[in-house]
């Protein structure tokens, strides 16, 4: 960029000191005083707070012990589902969104994480442990301890979230629980309790989902059973009432009997015709045949009257019987299918069963990892320096306008 103009109108002004020279280049008295001012302000606004923070961490701040636990929420059919989790995590979130249904363990993990971060967890923990006592130990310092003797749930939750941290790694499905407190034993105990309560929560999850799955199947089975019993009872009642074991079969029998008798009658008549040709009418054999024919006719009439008198009744009987029989068959079939679906629901439920697998139990911390004194002090120093730099440059550029 060529920037030298042919004339420099402001040169005399600069020479007379009206335009302030750039900071750091000038040794003129106003420049020096400003430089001194800058140092002074830097000490006041940056170094002093940094020193305060450093002093707090080195002389006053109480040690915080961290207990860490790692666990996985898995389902029993997990052999198939967990590799899916990992694949879903790697091959793209879009796939992950839409195949959520096939990776239930991830959903349950998130539910557990959400629970640990909620007031429900605080309330449940307070029933087991004295949280306020744990975070108000005598060795705690005034700044990092729980500030209230009798905190409301909201404030306790606010503090709880600062001290109990749960994170979920979607790639491996491992959840990490970190608990901070002022005594190593407290941290471990608290982490153990959180883990135990999470296990209870997961158990209620699975119990409910199993109950939900099985309930429908159980209902279906009970209905099918009732239907089968009702069908059988109806059949028995029918038999007792109609005095017939199987009306269809007895009807067939009657028709058959008549047919047989008629065949015999026809045969006897043919014999009679044949004998008449060469015998006298008073021959005893003809007499015998006549008698037989009469008896057969009599019998056929009886049989026929039995069938025809009850003709209408018998058909009705048969129709009613058939209806009952069909109902019994259907009921049997429904029972069989309900039993089968209960079986499959049971195996489904078994697959839905979720449980917590502990990867690493909470340890008893030996050395206080927190607070991170050096890191925090350094962060304060750097951020304040940057902010001071910006502010100072702005002020300097503003002051140039005042001259």
């Amino acid at each position: 960029m060529k920037l030298s103009p042919p004339t420099r109108p402001s040169e005399p002004l600069a020479a007379s000191g009206l335009i302030p020279p750039a900071v750091g280049r000038s040794a003129a008295p106003p420049g020096r005083s400003r430089r001194f001012g800058a140092r002074w302000w830097y000490a006041l606004l940056v170094l002093l707070p940094t020193l305060l923070v450093a002093g707090y961490y080195s002389f006053y701040a109480a040690d915080l012990y961290e207990s860490e636990a790692r666990f996985q929420v898995r389902n029993r059919g997990g052999g198939g589902a967990n590799p899916m989790d990992i694949a879903g995590g790697r091959t793209g979130a879009m796939a992950g969104i839409f195949t959520n249904a096939s990776r239930p363990a991830t959903e349950e993990s998130r539910a557990v994480a959400a629970w640990i971060d909620s007031h429900a967890a605080v309330t449940a923990l307070r029933r087991e442990l004295d949280l306020v006592e744990i975070w108000r130990r005598p060795e705690a310092d005034q700044l990092s301890m729980l500030w209230w003797d009798e905190p409301q749930l909201e404030w306790l939750l606010w503090y709880f979230r600062r001290r109990v941290n749960i994170s979920f790694d979607p790639e491996t499905g491992v959840m990490t629980l970190r608990v901070l407190s002022f005594r190593p034993g407290d941290s471990q105990l608290l982490a153990q309790q959180v883990l135990r309560l999470s296990e209870e929560l997961v158990n209620t999850f699975s119990a409910r989902s199993i109950a939900d799955t099985l309930r429908v199947a159980h209902d279906d089975l009970a209905k099918a059973e009732r239907r089968v019993v009702a069908a059988r009872e109806a059949l028995i009642a029918f038999r007792e009432r109609e005095q017939a074991f199987d009306p269809q079969r007895s009807a067939t029998g009657a028709v058959e009997t008549i047919g047989r008798l008629e065949a015999q009658l026809t045969q006897s008549r043919a014999e009679l015709q044949e004998r008449r040709a060469f015998m006298r009418a008073d021959n005893p054999q003809i007499q015998v045949l006549n008698n037989r024919i009469a008896a057969l006719q009599q019998q056929i009439a009886t049989e026929r009257s039995r069938v025809t008198r009850g003709e209408e009744r018998l058909t009705q009987q048969v129709a009613g019987y058939e209806r009952l029989e069909l109902e019994r068959m259907l009921a049997d079939r429904e029972l069989a299918s309900a039993t089968a679906s209960l079986e499959s629901a049971r195996s489904d439920a078994l697959r839905q069963q979720v449980f917590i697998m502990r990867v690493a139990d909470p340890q008893l911390p030996e050395w206080p990892r927190y607070p991170r004194a050096t890191f925090n002090t350094f962060t304060v120093f750097v951020s304040l320096s940057v902010l001071f730099g910006i502010g100072w440059l702005l002020v300097v550029s503003a002051r140039e306008h005042a001259s």
């Binding site: 960029m1 920037l3 103009p5 420099r8 109108p9 402001s10 040169e11 002004l13 600069a14 009206l18 335009i19 750039a22 900071v23 280049r25 001012g37 302000w41 995590g89 790697r90 091959t91 793209g92 979130a93 879009m94 979607p170 790639e171 951020s383 940057v386 902010l387 730099g389 910006i390 502010g391 440059l393 702005l394 002020v395 550029s397 503003a398 002051r399 140039e400 306008h401 005042a402």
Partner: protein, 276 residues
């Protein structure tokens, strides 16, 4: 200016200095105001409606891109989020960001003659331009919000987050613009490099794609870029729960502070070459 508040605290220590600082800020404000008016006239002419282009230009560009995407149905469709509105909301901040940075190198050169006035400093010229751009983008965003509210019947989720996102975007672009201006003043190669760098940064900015639809590993890489956080913030303010977003205000603030410090310092460093 915000610095007056802590300027006040200094009153007890150095009354003379404090008065000078306040007077300086007041003068600077007047100068910047005058420069904004001048900038509008030089950019849009003396036509009464010329300044409308300030708002129409980004709106038209964003609208054209949004229509294109909507018509071609490019991109992942997210249930409950129209591609048209998504592109509009995503591209507009990016447009402003790009406009501020790509115009920054020319700012100093085109305003060089103004520096003959001793009241006008380098920073004022840059500030005036950036403030103008920011006013334009906030107005256009307000128009979009109202338009989508009225015609699309979907009110924005969280206006403070949306606004904070825009302000952070402006501050980040301001810092980068200062650096770009300083770099352009110090070397011509740097000036030529700025444009390609801006274009190359588009895919890394996370402007036109929701981080939620990306693979977690890619998302993590993109989240190193503070710009991606800002775009996510703007979208969070607009869509809220309909589109999960990933951002961290502290991280962006840190970058904004660092970039602004470097920008102010760089501008100060190149001043001896430009001023007289």
């Amino acid at each position: 200016m915000s610095a007056t508040s802590w300027g006040e605290r200094r009153a007890a220590a150095a009354p003379g200095e404090f008065a000078r600082t306040v007077r300086g800020f007041r003068n600077q404000l007047r100068v910047v105001h005058a420069l904004i008016l001048r900038e509008m006239q030089t950019r849009f002419g003396r036509n009464q409606l010329g300044f409308l282009w300030l708002f129409l230009e980004p709106l038209m560009l964003a609208g054209a891109l949004a229509t294109l995407k909507w018509a071609m149905s490019i991109g992942d469709s997210i249930p409950g989020v129209s591609i048209f509105v998504f592109t509009l909301v995503s591209y507009l901040p990016y447009f402003t960001f790009r406009a501020i940075i790509s115009r920054a190198p020319g700012t100093l050169r085109s305003n060089m003659t103004l520096l003959y006035h001793q009241q006008i400093k380098l920073l004022d010229v840059v500030l005036a331009r950036h403030a103008l751009e920011m006013a334009a983008v906030i107005t256009v965003m307000a128009l979009i919000v109202i338009g989508v509210w009225v015609w699309g019947d979907t009110p924005p989720w969280n206006i403070p987050i949306l606004f904070t996102g825009l302000v952070l975007l402006f501050l980040l672009a301001h810092g980068l613009g200062l650096m770009a201006a300083a770099a352009a003043a110090s070397s011509e190669i740097a000036e030529r490099l700025i444009h390609p760098l801006i274009y190359l940064s588009l895919p890394l900015s996370g402007a036109l794609i929701s981080l939620h639809t990306l693979d977690p590993s890619i998302r993590e890489v993109l989240l190193w870029n503070p710009q991606a956080h800002i775009h996510e913030m703007v979208r969070e303010g607009f869509f809220g729960d309909r589109l999960p977003s990933y951002f961290h205000i502290g991280y962006v603030t840190f970058w904004v502070a660092v970039v602004n410090l470097l920008g102010l310092a760089a501008l100060r460093a190149v001043r001896p070459r430009l001023e007289f």
